[in-house]
Symmetry: C2
């Protein structure tokens, strides 16, 4: 066997600038492979999403406490920009329940201008995070956290949509609050909404199964038609429900609750308000920023977290270009702020709908954006007729399959500690907030990793040779500041025991041998601790012999003065004993010339 | 060579209960070795500390915004309890500058009762942390953080004492504020205080050197006398200065500023106030707790941090029983709250003075406690005369040698990244607060460790054999959720390159071999990623062969279905290729009987 090369570099012979362009404008990459089938799928998914995005935008704007049209302002610029810059086909940038809630909490007592400034500054911070390449932080969110977070988000969304199915109206933030209010308002349940919701849900779930129906291979067109109907089920159901509502419309007695009136017209393009002048006084920029407070850090952080979690969930284990996602998200919000938008990011709900609609590329966002634009400009009267129960059904049927119960059974058998992380993330998300859940899950994972590093197995054994006994200490993986002190203390105890055993057997010496073969990292602090250990052993008449170390570990150890370096390259304990037993120690005498040594 | 035993257990043949008692009541341990010399040293150190503790307690009480006697209430119970429970001889539990500052910030607008409740609840939280054995968190504070923190604390204390030397009076929290106010008040500098401070500092520094003076070996008594004078220099200087102040006392024109009047008398023992009834209304417990806010978490955390940092700094690299320290600290504060104390913990200043006074055991605290008690009961008039400039001199001379400049030179040569941590901790401590500095330093260390784990060297090479080519991937140390995805992606790229090379050389197969020899930890997430990698390779006609794995890693991998397990025990790449090339794959045919294989 022969080593022929080390880690191949991936040069493809194309210019570096083209590579950067492909990376920063992902449309250049996927547009080359874009075909008619993908375009049809994207059109269906984009229109479906657009029909969903409009009432959703209104709902989230209302939740955030801003005028309804602000939701639509936030939708179209993000979705259209994402076509050019986005990397994950399921993502559409727009208002989300999480953003709406955080915006409400941050700007509850502030003027409307502060919301737009918040959007602008959040975009700048996210952009900065992207430019500083903080995307590697994605790796800190483990699949267990993503799973718990995804399931919890689905549960929260479903709970929040039950009221739509029942024809109830109230605002509630948490799962518990939703349940309480549904019970409290059980007398107001509307039969029409319930029936429509039931029908919509049933049809949606049946249509979802349609694409799996096996048709004779002789009829490929029928198979394709079934697939098309299946993936466009959301659009179909919404359209049919709206037509039904339009036909049976009686303004005095509504059969079902409708989405309602939306103010038409495009917003003017303007710089975000850097100060507010009211009749009485001017609020300067610094005071506006000060009033936004911790929300200014929280909202960008949650934006990035949400988008990256979505990207991870829908990338199917593939690579997530977190830097590009952050730059895109930042630009979407900065541009959004010029159009009076509220903070926007990707939403799990919409991603799930896109996914279930069979989206093929980010181009779908173009159609969603156009629909939002059209909604603002022309077709507002028609969106008026989309029944609320229908929207709730689409949302519920989109997220119900995101609840991953199977992972509990799997992890129960393979890794109980990961199960704890999943459950912790889920419970915190459902009981408190989603961002706290992600934080708690990530910290729990980190703590488990740190614990494994802090408490490694000792791995000390005693070897006997003709010369005497020796304790061999083979630390695993890392010897760093969090575990070196403890490991050194236990190794010293083992060395003392070996010395006692050697003395009992009337042997002369019992050195402590440190086998660095499995040691990948040794930091400065651990090196100092080894130096102290060597000194301590020396005072007991023992020696610390380090052998079988890698080049990096050898470099860290090279600055030490009291550690015996003669056996660093020895591969086995026997070799190390032989290498270190040459009389180099001042205590045992001066170094003899080579000839003398063998005489 | 022969392995004769694994990790010796330390059974000493004494009952488990006695061991627990020794651990929880450390006085049982050190009292056995306690002799007359140690008792004299402790008496001197204890009295010195007592003379220092009294004016310090007053100063910190004044800084915390509570009546002066509250400082003394906080001193005596902690110091006396620590005699029985404490493990670090230099520590004395009492008010500190840090505690005083945090108490002020937490209780600035709250009634005096809230301070006592804060002490009580902080003690309970620290006690809980001790019982839950959260003491292992000590290991997260690296020596670099401790060094930066220690130096910064010394600088802050010195800066805060300059005003005493100059005879100025003002309150300032930060280094910068101290400098500004000294410059602003330069006209008020008092000659008497300056001269006294200069004399005190000079005498203290000279007396410090006295114990190093070489005396003829024939006169051991003179040598001992010099040592005694040297280590009791603080008590000597304080007494002489107080006598001088008493003799030259003129109430109309003070030569130097004095410590001033202290209200005598012991506090009554009472449960901490769980609610406050004023003339208008009653503030219930929940509201009191709510008003204490984040201080309720911050103060216990900083207490533990401070005590553990002091314990680490003065334990000389030895072991710190963090659990015991936390239980003791918690009990001291719970007991203190019964005596109207403000929050108390160990102080770097006092520890340095104890250390330089030659303290030999925690018994010194008994004398300090008695002096504080006496101060409260009887001798208040005499403490009145201790000049402030003298106290400042003692403080400054105690901490000046704690500033570790040498470490900068050392780390510049051996580890620049550790130097960054030291400088970061120091700068944050001096510019902002000490607790933020410890947090920042610990996080910087953790981030560095995490970075090393997240970005390990790839370590992939290609081997050629008669059978074809194979890529060998030998991940170092840890394959966990923070690095497995990236490593697997790069390994897959290497495998693809190897396959291309094999195809070019008309070889049949080019498997990816994973050498687990240096792998200490493989988590559930990494196992899943390996499974996906195996699937991906299989779709390209390649195989993933894992070999040379430890028992723990084998266990984690055992639940996987698509990973070839036949070579797990092989030690080399050749062995692994041979073990895995037996036709076990369904694609290459059914498993042949053993006889057939060799035919």
């Amino acid at each position: 066997m022969e080593i022929i090369e080390e880690s191949p570099s991936s040069s493809k012979g194309e210019s570096r600038w083209l590579q950067v362009a492909r990376r920063r404008l992902p449309i250049l990459e996927w547009a080359r492979r874009y075909d008619r089938l993908a375009a049809v799928a994207d059109l269906v998914a984009g229109v479906t999403l657009g029909l969903m995005l409009v009432p959703q935008s209104l709902a989230y704007a209302s939740l955030a406490g801003v005028p309804l049209q602000y939701g639509l302002y936030s939708s179209y610029i993000g979705t259209i920009l994402y076509v050019f810059l986005g990397t994950v086909k399921e993502v559409s940038i727009g208002p989300t329940s999480l953003m709406a809630l955080l915006t409400l909490q941050t700007c509850r007592h502030l003027p409307l201008e502060s919301v737009v400034l918040l959007t602008f500054l959040s975009g700048c911070i996210v952009l900065l995070m992207g430019v500083l390449r903080l995307g590697c932080l994605v790796q800190l969110i483990s699949p267990s956290v993503t799973s718990g977070f995804t399931s919890a988000t689905a549960v929260i969304i479903m709970a929040s949509q039950v009221k739509g199915l029942l024809g109830l109206s109230f605002t509630a933030e948490t799962l518990l609050e939703n349940i309480q209010k549904i019970i409290a308002k059980r007398g107001d349940v509307r039969l029409g909404d319930c029936l429509l919701g039931l029908v919509c849900c049933t049809v949606l779930l049946l249509l979802r199964k349609l694409k799996d129906v096996k048709v004779s291979p002789k009829r490929p067109k029928l198979q394709k038609a079934l697939w098309l109907i299946s993936i466009s089920r959301n659009a179909l159901v919404v359209t049919v429900a709206a037509v039904f509502a339009y036909c049976t419309y009686n303004p005095n007695k509504l059969l079902v609750k409708l989405s309602g009136y939306v103010e038409p017209g495009l917003p003017s393009i303007a710089l975000p308000p850097f100060s507010i002048t009211s009749e009485n006084h001017t609020i300067p920029f610094t005071e506006m920023v000060h009033e936004l407070g911790s929300g200014l850090l929280m909202i960008p952080f949650v934006m990035v977290l949400a988008n990256i979690a979505i990207a991870k969930a829908f990338s199917g284990g593939g690579r997530v270009d977190a830097t590009q996602e952050m730059v895109t998200l930042g630009l979407c919000n900065v541009a959004g702020a010029l159009l009076h938008a509220m903070p926007a990011c990707g939403a799990f709900t919409r991603s799930a709908v896109s996914h279930s609609s069979g989206v093929r590329s980010p181009a779908a966002g173009l159609y969603s954006g156009i629909i939002t634009l059209l909604a603002l400009m022309f077709i507002t009267p028609y969106f008026y007729f989309i029944p609320k129960a229908c929207i709730s059904s689409v949302l519920i049927c989109a997220v119900v399959f995101m609840v991953d119960i199977d992972i509990v059974r799997k992890l129960w058998r393979s890794s109980k500690s990961e199960l704890v992380v999943v459950v912790l993330t889920f419970v915190v998300a459902v009981a408190l907030t989603v961002e706290l859940a992600v934080l708690a899950g990530a910290l729990a994972n980190l703590a488990m990793l740190l614990r494994a590093i802090m408490m490694p197995p000792l791995n000390v054994y005693t070897v006997k040779s003709s010369r005497g006994a020796a304790a061999v200490w083979a630390p695993a993986a890392l010897l760093v500041y969090v575990n070196a002190e403890r490991a050194a203390r236990r190794a010293a105890a083992a060395a003392a025991a070996a010395a006692a055993a050697a003395a009992a057997a009337a042997h002369a010496h019992a050195p402590l041998l440190l086998d660095g073969g499995r040691l990948a990292l040794l930091d400065h602090c651990a090196a100092q601790i080894l130096e102290r250990l060597a000194n301590k052993l020396k005072s007991n008449g023992q020696r610390l012999i380090i052998f079988n170390v890698s080049a990096e570990v050898e470099e860290t150890l090279s600055t030490l003065q009291h550690v015996d370096k003669s056996a660093f390259r020895s591969r086995t304990a026997s070799e190390a004993l032989a290498a270190a037993s040459e009389p180099r120690d001042p205590e045992t005498g001066p170094l003899l010339p080579a000839g003398h040594d063998h005489a």
